[in-house]
């Protein structure tokens, strides 16, 4: 391959055998990432993929870029150091619901609030896979697992709500089996300056098979999934006649277009740039069993990145007294001379 030739998805593949379980949702995500990276014309040598621990965190070994498979929960911290020390690099973090939200929860919220220019793909399978099937911080309450034989009494996080609460500047969701949509979200994340957070629903066919089946299965998909698109009404359904409207208390409700005089003008037109986080939060918090599941960009806004602030200070300091030699630094403060 030469620098002038456009890269293809296969150019991002490594010679390492992929060791996820056959049928794992991670395969689809890997493929979408490789396609998106190729389509974006990314240069492998300018790209660093950082991961923590978990099934998803094996990801860097399968991408022929720079990669660092770190320790449990800390990928975002390592990635912060990579990006801040070297802002030219294109830095991606691959993480999971345990890695990012349980052991690494603190780094997750702080990275988002700082708005470090890192793209975060969180593979949410609502289970611990690599440790063989314990409930995760996104598992539903009552979930029976190896560690909760009588059902979990934990309440789950909703990663989108958590990211919004941490004042993230790019918050999106996609699904492993929605290849084209996922690719689009990866491309949108890549274009975002600042931390881009993409939650990806990913099926673990060994320990939590079918977790998302109720809305991802082809026959029900159109009825059960709501695609958020900028400036478009929140309409869903095979016949595109179902919609989401907010009632007087800002509670979402499902309405049918054409019934009771409801028209598209009555339903929400989606604005991912809305300053009022109540709207994306309301969508994120909709009960999964009675409402459609939103995917797409919940929130996107511009805000100065952390690393640009750091660079500006470095430059200002250099302009201030950039010519200070090492000797001058050592001699700062009050000195006295002892003669020969």
């Amino acid at each position: 391959m030469t620098a002038t030739e456009p890269l293809q998805a296969k150019d991002f593949k490594t010679d390492q055998e992929v060791r996820w379980c056959p049928g794992c949702g991670d395969y689809g995500i890997l493929s979408s990432v490789q396609k998106a990276f190729a389509a974006l014309g990314k240069r492998p040598d300018q790209t660093a993929i950082i991961s923590g621990i978990g099934c998803s965190s094996r990801f860097p070994y399968y991408m022929d870029t720079y990669g660092f498979h770190t320790i449990h929960g800390r990928a975002l911290s390592v990635a912060t150091g990579v990006k801040v020390a070297n802002p030219e690099l294109d830095v991606w973090v691959i993480t999971g619901d345990g890695d990012a939200l349980s052991i690494g929860g603190n780094h997750f919220i702080h990275t988002l609030r700082r708005n470090v220019g890192i793209k975060v793909l969180l593979f949410n399978n609502r289970i611990y896979g690599l440790t063989k099937g314990q409930y995760s911080p996104t598992s539903e309450r009552g979930k029976k697992t190896k560690s909760t034989p009588m059902g979990s009494v934990d309440n789950p996080f909703r990663p989108i709500s958590l990211a919004l609460g941490a004042r993230a500047t790019f918050v999106a969701r996609s699904i492993d089996v929605f290849g084209a949509h996922l690719e689009a979200m990866i491309r949108a994340a890549s274009a975002h300056e600042g931390t881009a957070f993409v939650e990806i629903y990913q099926n673990c066919n060994i320990f939590n098979d079918g977790a998302f089946k109720s809305f991802t299965d082809k026959p029900v998909r159109d009825e059960r999934v709501l695609q958020l698109e900028q400036d478009k009404p929140l309409v869903f359904g095979k016949d595109r006649n179902q919609a989401i409207r907010l009632d007087g208390d800002l509670r979402p409700e499902i309405v049918t277009l054409g019934e009771g005089g409801v028209t598209e003008a009555d339903v929400l037109s989606w604005d991912e740039a809305a300053e009022n986080l109540a709207l994306p939060l309301a969508l994120s918090e909709m009960p999964e069993d009675t409402f459609p599941v939103p995917i797409g960009i919940f929130h996107r806004r511009g805000r100065a990145t952390f690393e640009s602030g750091v660079q500006e200070q470095l430059q200002a300091a250099r302009q201030g007294r950039g010519d200070e030699s090492l000797d001058a630094l050592l001699q700062r403060g009050e000195t006295w001379v002892v003669g020969d």
């Binding site: 911290s77 090492l326 002892v338």
Partner: protein, 638 residues
């Protein structure tokens, strides 16, 4: 005081005191130890550091020891709220801030209660008389007023109503009463400047600079300082002043007074600049290491990035990320933070990335005594990680020596592609001494070479292809075309770096990582020994015990005893010539502020009957304590 003249005992009262002191010429002494003690709000650290600064500029050798409570402001007048600053200065070479003060300034009954036991008999005791009211005495648990009974009969008690005198001095100053009272530490400082014939000018300049935007406060402090000086001069309250000539033994050069944490920061930056690297500090505030974060954050123009992380783990991980991307990653902390960083340090060992981990030790375990010193993290630095996880450990032994220690830590980290633990402690961090400034050109070179695409034409890049001499792997900076590779915490095949669980490979890698660190010993300079290389008793020191050990050993040598000492810069690996040295003495003593951690390592490694000399009081060894231990060791040799 080593002067021949014993200070006279007496109770000089300021009121109506004769002016005898004013006319007499100052008495020459070769050293003085003074201690300032008061409430944490009384400005004792500022007072002490001003005296230090002036004394440094006057060319004395000096050593300081600040001792402050963990509470920012404990309830006023109580025993836990006492803050102190000790300074020893001299005309000859000194190694410690001294054991017993010649003069004590006690700003309240609590300060008197905490510190009077250590004032030398016949020493000068200055108390703020106005602060000895019944309620003040009660808060400090004095049953009767020590100024009015025989409690203080062994000292030269100088009672001064600092508050009253300061208020009178500042009667016309445009400050409220509280503001005036805050100047009384300067009144006390002025008195001591007269007593020890110090030049008040540098402090006046300092006050002008410090209160640049508040000229009224600057003026009031300067006025109080001068008033204190004149008060001592005119009233003759001290009877006689003392003079300590400038030190003459000091090698020619430019000097500045420096604290351990400051020297450490300069050492890091100097080394990074010599190596041509950006410095990236990831840190989380913790006593007594926070000043490293503070100071490095002012060196941005020397390409230093500081990142105050959300926790200790994020701090070290960000530093590892920075190293991975081609900067010098550094993290600074104290013992509790070290514990949190353990797993990440293991990752840096496995990924074989340079990293400097600064542990400014404090008294533990757990939160322990945050502002008090200890050396009990050595075994944590050595072994506090899962798996066989060796890394080099270096240490500084005096405040100024922290520069060289930090420089060496950086050199080892980038030369051997390894995390390095740099052990300091609270006593080094906050203590100070004169430092002869090195010239940048004289500092040893540190060469860093990043892997290049054409290093091995036609071959796939191998992230674990090792340098045959150092066993270091190449440092390939992301962004370099053609060197894309993956590393991580999983065991990997040597050379290719591919994940590999083969039993023989794991054994090979464990041994290789150990050999890389052990091999550092082969390039270390021979140990310097204080005294002969054989004899009766050898003291082995590391870190801040150096001063006390040096003093004790010199005293023994002056009496003709065959006592020597050596001080370890490198605690892992230990120098190759240490074993021979240990075996050349009849008795080996290892003083350390823990329960014998280095002694345990040395005994295990060499099967030498080294005897630990331990102290865990949050305070450094005194000369007396070591004298006694050496004495009994000598007796056992006889």
């Amino acid at each position: 005081m080593t002067s021949t003249d014993q200070p006279k005992r007496g109770d000089a009262t300021p009121a109506g005191g004769n002016a005898a002191g004013g006319g007499r010429s100052p008495q020459e002494v070769d050293q003085v130890v003074i201690r300032f003690a008061g409430d944490s709000g009384d400005g004792m650290q500022l007072t002490g550091s001003q005296f230090t600064r002036t004394t440094a500029l006057m060319g004395n050798d000096l050593a300081t020891f600040p001792d402050f409570p963990a509470e920012i402001r404990a309830p006023a007048g109580t025993l836990p709220g006492v803050s102190a600053f000790q300074l020893r200065f001299s005309s000859f070479d000194i190694h410690t801030p001294g054991d017993v003060p010649d003069a004590l300034v006690a700003m309240n009954p609590a300060a008197l209660k905490v510190h009077i036991g250590e004032l030398k008999k016949g020493g000068i005791l200055i108390v703020d008389q106005g602060k000895f009211r019944p309620n003040d005495l009660k808060k400090a648990h004095w049953e009767s007023n020590p100024l009015e009974d025989e409690t203080l009969a062994d000292y030269r008690l100088i009672k001064v109503d600092l508050q009253k005198l300061t208020r009178e001095t500042l009667a016309d100053a445009p400050l409220d009463t509280r503001g005036k009272d805050r100047c009384k530490n300067m009144f006390a400082l002025g008195m001591l400047y007269w007593l020890y014939q110090r030049d008040p000018d540098p402090s006046e300049q300092f006050l002008d600079a410090k209160f640049k935007s508040k000229p009224d406060i600057a003026e009031a402090n300067k006025k109080a300082l001068r008033a204190g000086y004149n008060y001592a001069d005119i009233t003759g309250v001290f009877q006689v002043a003392y003079r300590v000539k400038a030190a003459t033994f000091m090698p020619p050069g430019t000097y500045r007074n420096i604290m351990g944490n400051q020297a450490l920061c300069l050492g890091l930056v100097a080394a990074a600049r010599k190596a041509g690297l950006r410095t990236f500090l990831g840190s989380y505030p913790i006593t007594p290491a926070s000043d490293v974060l503070h100071q490095l954050s002012t060196y941005k123009h020397h390409d230093v990035v500081t990142f105050q992380a959300e926790d200790e783990i994020a701090a070290v991980c960000a530093a590892i990320g920075a190293s991975y991307s081609g900067s010098l990653g550094v993290t600074s902390t104290s013992g509790p933070g070290m514990a949190l960083k353990s797993e990440a340090i293991g990752l840096a060992v496995m990924a074989e990335l340079p990293l400097v981990i600064i542990d400014v030790q404090r008294a533990g375990p757990s939160t322990g005594m945050p502002t008090k010193t200890e050396q009990a993290d050595l075994l944590q630095a050595m072994f506090g990680r899962n798996g066989e996880c060796p890394l080099p450990i270096v240490t500084g032994s005096t405040p100024a020596d922290c520069f060289d220690a930090a420089y060496e830590a950086v050199r080892l980290a980038v030369t051997y592609m390894t995390p390095v633990v740099l052990l300091s402690d609270g006593y080094l961090a906050n203590g100070s001494e004169p430092w002869r400034l090195p010239k940048a050109a004289d500092l040893p070179p540190i060469s860093v070479r990043f892997a290049q695409p054409d290093d091995h034409p036609g071959e796939k890049f191998q992230p674990y292809r090792r340098d045959p001499k150092t066993l270091a792997r190449p440092w390939a900076r992301p962004g370099t075309p053609g060197l894309m590779h993956r590393i991580g915490g999983l065991e990997k095949r040597d050379g290719t770096g591919n994940i590999d669980y083969d039993p023989d490979n794991h054994e090979h890698m464990v041994h290789t990582r150990a050999a890389k660190v052990a091999g550092i010993a082969n390039e270390l300079a021979p140990l310097e020994v204080l005294g002969e290389r054989q004899g009766d008793v050898l003291l082995v020191g590391w870190g801040s015990t150096r001063g006390a050990i040096t003093g004790a050993v010199l005293r023994q040598q002056a009496q003709g005893r065959a006592v020597s000492a050596c001080f370890l810069r490198h605690l892992n690996p230990l120098p190759n010539d240490l074993e021979t040295l240990l075996r050349s003495f009849r008795k080996v003593l290892i003083p350390e502020m823990n329960l014998g951690q280095l002694a345990m390592l040395i005994r295990a490694r060499y099967l030498v009957d080294a005897e630990p000399v331990t102290k865990v009081q949050g305070r450094p060894f005194t000369g007396e304590e070591l004298d006694a231990k050496i004495q009994s060791a000598l007796e056992s040799c006889a």
